[in-house]
Symmetry: C3
Subunit: 154 residues, 3 copies
């Protein structure tokens, strides 16, 4: 017989999947030890569990471009902190403390990460620049999120 009518229009394609990787954490123990990752154990957001509160490290699961930011309360001594990526200090934040003058210091950066890369904050150097402070009503925080997944992820 003759060809039939054209078939029905195909179903609408699905929307793009939204890749999610984010964490937002706060300090509970003040005066962190130098030369080891600062462990932030108050959790504001860690839905994908890519941040490990037992080590203080964020582990990249989805390759792409990430945003990281931190805000530190400077109290009792100076603060010198670095954001580390794979054992290398990437950015440095320094703030001096003076008596009766609690300060705030912050930093942020965009980094491309590959799966398996770890990122964390650490007091820098051997000195006593560990005046990062927190208590019930004073925060020092660290956060990060996936901004753009790599094209090949799709």
């Amino acid at each position: 017989g003759f060809p039939g009518y054209p078939g029905q229009k195909g179903e609408k394609g699905e929307g793009a999947f939204v890749y999610r990787s984010a964490f937002s954490v706060g300090l509970t123990e003040r005066a962190p030890h130098p030369n080891v990752p600062i462990r932030f154990s108050k959790i504001f957001y860690n839905e994908q569990s890519h941040y490990d509160a037992s080590t203080g490290k964020f582990l990249c699961n989805i390759p792409g471009t990430y945003y990281f930011a931190y805000h530190l309360t400077v109290y009792l001594s100076d603060v010198k902190v670095s954001l580390y990526k794979k054992d290398k200090a990437v950015i440095f934040t320094y703030d001096q403390f003076q008596k009766n003058n609690v300060d705030q210091a912050s930093g942020s950066v965009l980094l491309h990460l590959s799966a398996g890369d770890e990122v964390w904050l650490q007091v820098y150097g051997e000195g006593d620049n560990n005046g990062v402070y927190a208590d019930n009503i004073n925060d020092s925080t660290f956060m990060g999120f996936l901004l753009y997944p790599d094209p090949d992820v799709h």
Copy 2:
């Protein structure tokens, strides 16, 4: 007759809709009152009108993960400010003022919000920690944006 030819290929699915919810505002009145939301009335961005300049509150319309940040000029007195979500102080930023030493204090956090949740900044406590300052050439700012809409929104 025989079956017809297969129908035409369905139309290409539409790209994922981009959910937008963001605001970026600045202070115009210094020394905000404690225990009420700080009203930021200089508008840098509020296209979706999810921030209400008359109350100082951001209202969540799209459930998902949000980023919030603020940057405060510390002048004339100390500053202690909290970011509130639904009447609960989530993070605290404290910076002491000393004469001739204007400072800057900042904070940021990621939070999951449900539709109807409100977020704002407020001077914390009964004391006089309201040294948040702004004038024509000095800003104190507050902003937020939807980072990841919830999966079921799609």
Copy 3:
């Protein structure tokens, strides 16, 4: 003959293209000149090359809503810096320096940009508020990224 069977389901629509535009840079020369863009020449991320290290300016290629942030080390003199969009100062950050009290000052804002718009940081005013400092282990940084492309881009 009779109509044929319905055609096969159309192919799944492609995922939405991810528009990317982001940069993250650091200062290498301290005490920037007033009244010209601050040139940040240490590159943390500039994959799309929308930031020009020779001028210090970010050039908008994709119309949409952008996030900008900066973190400045305040040392040796006061700091007054503005974020400029198209030759107009949009936000102002001021921090006073006092001896033995290095400070950190930061700012962030969301702005809608059209293709061709330029954004940069600049020391504000004629005075000597150029105490923005950086060395090998002290950073002053500037960054920005496309948050939401305009709907008509799709």
